[in-house]
Symmetry: C2
Subunit: 568 residues, 2 copies
């Protein structure tokens, strides 16, 4: 029997959050969560997110989790929690562990079925937790009896399965004393079945030994399983040419001689496509074959050449090895890698030619997205966090060259427009030592604009790059090019700091520098853009807003290819 | 068998919406709803809402429905629809029929379980409709086979039960031909059981004949059942003193000699409470006994004196008459009203004294909420729409005197902060011939601020009155008066039109006048406020924004009473 200790329900929740690395809880106050907020406010190791609404808070927690490994938000019953459903479902789809804490009515009111505000008025207090049970790995509505067990269960399941978790905390039991497990939370995954794993490993090693043109294709689940290090080791030990997917462009160091680009089916650069299709063995790591990630299901790869490493299974050509997870298997492949199969990375360029890159942009004055991405690679420093919004803004980033140790954040599967403004706040709060860049279209920006206010409140210093192309461009390219419904109201975007920041109340107990507003300007030419970027890059302790005026239908090459394969 | 006709799925949905009085569909475009939007765009009798996000669209549809009788919004699969859950649940709680149309992936993709963007990536396309089934009266995901039946079923159930409905429309069947019922939609409620009704009626008439101090207490479900006219008739035929509840302050003409004020338990004005408690018979119509509507469950009325008229039952003292709805019963009570029991309205003031009113405000310079509400009664014209936000902003309105035929909109049960900014848009679009007033606190305003942009887009002309008291005042009064978590970022509220309206693209095909921006100012004194209001009232074809600077802890008397009874 493990050791136990006495604590309270609220304090145990906070202790477990801190244990998994969380130091900021996003959310909005509401009258059923104020007592829990007292505990958070009193805890010197925790910061309150102070978001403008709950959807934004859920996006911020997701962005934060992509940098720190886990995130959390706190909402109030009904009116608060339901506003976060889209964000939580997004974290579910994209496999991001976000703990959603909800302050609920007192156990007495629940027992009475009282007709309380923020309820449906029918005495049923289980409707919302039931809704969330469909988009979380685990969910619980606490009672004094189940709290110790359920808090640990929901948080560990969320971390283990990398999906959101939901914990409802009745307002009257926040300070109720409970006895909890004094040990660390265990969220390890089960061991692989050893015989099955051994058989898979043998097949894999044999395939590697027989391959003539082997490659590695590393995708999102390498990131989700926190296996960048193991991938780097495999790349090193094998010397195989390595490709990434749109969902994982940051999974490998682009400076390596074996790095060859981003594969996304027919949306790929021509040369990348040619190279991948001519491989005779593909070590496909953590593949997420969604429409956007595969150029609209145009992978065109031959199963007889693919070894798939997944989170819950491994597939060698046509044979599936159930429950053999890449987390345990990949280190074994590295350990047993046949030295005879190793490729000299220096030879790759000789045999395949120089790595494919985005085409140069024709000279000109006007800012266009192809120019933008080519130019930005000159600005991104090592360790950048780059957040790109759904639409043309993230499609253009597929083939961008990143410096070392960047974190690239985008919702390629869930694709909820508006996600990135709060996600940028979350990511920037999660690691203030990195420079953060947000690339967002005007249409998306409008959905969640309030978090500019929260950025000022927290004193974070992203460079916000807004594409002003006067409407929902990605929709116009898909359908309804000249339809009114794809138009939006024109805002004074470049005045955002002024509107949202009257008296900047910076809450940057964690900030390392005095906070100021830097560049905030509307930019119509490349010359002005570059001047503004030079200034913004020179002021890492300022927040910047660059509104770029683009031609209304300008789109990057990647977007045009993607849309050609779109089946809407 | 009824006559049928051929049409398409999309056109049938639009025809049914128009049939129930809807001329504007709120929402946000997304790639699974664009083909449906084409139909809407091509229909000269329908306007597209063009909201900035889906939560806002759902609130706008709710506000619209409170004026027009029914509302609609259109979102896209997953990322769009889930953002609207809070708004839809609010419409469910508050009994507002809002039809939620969702553009979903093609039937082919659904059949294949394709890993599409905006899905959870697990091939399950039923998760979201399942979630919505818990907060709607009826929900359906259309197929060519079920469409004709399900469209009619969801819309009629929604109207009949006055709850939201959900219709998912796969993108590839929008233009599929179907055969539909050519008749009008039937959403009448079932007849009451006649014997039971007769017994109830007999008991009621007898009780009325025996009463010495009978009163009428009219609540929210009179409005929800669209029975203002019947109530007016009952008031006229009986002459009984009539009281309203906070959820229904607009249910009766305040100018009638028999109107006596708003009853909300211990939150009531003292004299109103005394009068109601001294009645020996209470005809309680459409009562919604929620915490906020009853002064925190402090009604203190004696069941042996109450006849409850409900939507699905009638209760005479301790006896319940199941399935006897007020909709059929109330006209019978009016018809059979015993003339001997009639009270002369002119006698009421003689016996009870002058009607209770809010206390006069002490003179002063500073704007305080008690002053505000007393003053506003001088400004509200007949037929005003008055929208008040959850918090101190709606609590202060309980005892306000309204002129004839006003519509009062507030979420007293659901209480989702941020609701009113989009709801004001919806209400103003629903009836451009009425003057619309929004009273909203700064904390709430921040959640849904984007709809200021939509107001400019639609060219509607509300007078927006923002209480700037630097934080979530209602929360501070409940708990955590000086806690940081109840603070918010200070914005330049009075500059909203400038920020959100750069190039005003007015889409007011229904507007009756040229649209302009009127007053937009920050006001710190009563003198300045009155000057600004005078100007705003003189410009009904302009939109106005009055930011009122209030002392941080100023609250109206009603709020202080309400909070005293609050059990958080």
């Amino acid at each position: 029997m493990s050791a136990t200790k006495k604590t309270t329900i609220g304090l145990h929740v906070l202790a477990r959050l801190k244990e998994v690395g969380i130091d900021t809880v996003f959310g909005v106050p509401g009258d059923y969560n104020l007592k829990f907020l007292d505990l958070l406010d009193d805890d010197k190791d925790l910061t309150w997110g102070n978001n403008a609404n709950e959807l934004n808070a859920s996006y911020a927690a997701d962005g934060y989790a992509r940098v720190k490994g886990a995130g959390a938000l706190l909402t109030t019953f009904g009116v608060g929690e339901l506003s976060a459903t889209n964000g939580i479902a997004g974290s579910y789809a994209e496999m991001i562990p976000v703990i959603h804490l909800v302050g609920t009515p007192s156990t007495t009111s629940i027992a009475q079925g009282a007709v309380l505000h923020h309820s449906l008025g029918n005495g049923d207090f289980s409707v919302f937790v039931n809704m969330f049970s469909q988009i979380t790995a685990a969910s619980a509505h606490l009672t004094p009896n189940n709290a110790a067990r359920q808090i640990d269960f929901v948080i560990s399941e969320s971390l283990r399965r990398r999906r959101p978790g939901y914990i409802g905390i009745p307002s009257d039991i926040v300070n109720t004393e409970i006895t909890v497990d004094a040990g660390k939370l265990d969220y390890s995954i089960p061991r692989n079945p050893q015989d099955t794993q051994e058989a898979a490993l043998k097949d894999i090693i044999r395939a590697i030994q027989q391959a003539k043109n082997p490659i590695i294709l590393a995708d999102a689940c390498v990131l989700r399983n926190n296996m960048k290090k193991e991938l780097a080791e495999l790349v090193k030990v094998s010397g195989f040419p390595v490709y990434v997917a749109p969902m994982s462009i940051d999974v490998v160091d682009h400076g390596l001689p074996s790095y060859r680009g981003c594969y996304s089916g027919s949306s790929s650069l021509d040369q990348v496509k040619k190279e991948v299709l001519s491989a005779d063995l593909i070590l496909e790591l953590g593949s997420e074959q969604t429409d956007v990630n595969t150029g609209g299901f145009t992978y065109g790869l031959d199963t007889s050449k693919i070894i798939e490493f997944h989170t819950f299974a491994t597939k060698v050509f046509y044979s599936t090895y159930e429950k053999v997870s890449m987390q345990e298997l990949l280190p074994l492949v590295i350990k047993h890698f046949p030295s005879s199969a190793k490729i000299d990375p220096a030879s790759i360029e000789r045999s395949l030619g120089p790595r494919a890159r985005r085409a140069d942009t024709p000279p000109g004055e006007v800012i266009v997205q192809d120019y933008f991405w080519n130019k930005m690679t000159e600005y991104f420093p090592e360790r950048s966090i780059i957040v790109t919004e759904t639409g043309t803004a993230n499609l253009g980033a597929f083939n961008v060259d990143l410096p070392k140790d960047c974190i690239f954040i985008s919702q390629l599967l869930w694709g909820s427009i508006g996600y990135t403004v709060p996600a940028t706040l979350g990511a920037a709060v999660a690691d203030r030592s990195r420079r953060t860049f947000l690339v967002v279209g005007d249409g998306s920006f409008q959905l969640t604009v309030q978090e500019i206010s929260s950025m000022l409140h927290h004193g974070v210093c992203p460079i916000i790059l807004l594409f002003n192309n006067d409407g929902y461009l990605i929709e116009k390219l898909i359908h309804g090019r000249d339809r009114k419904y794809n138009d939006i109201q024109m805002w004074e975007y470049a005045e955002s700091f002024k509107y949202f920041g009257k008296d900047i109340k910076v809450n940057h107990q964690r900030a390392t520098h005095p906070f100021q507003v830097g560049v905030h300007a509307k930019l119509e030419s490349r010359k002005d853009f570059e001047k503004a970027m030079d200034q913004a890059m020179a002021q890492p302790d300022h927040i910047h807003f660059l509104e770029l005026i683009l031609p209304p239908f300008d789109a990057p090459q990647e977007a045009l290819k993607q849309i050609a394969s779109y089946d809407g």
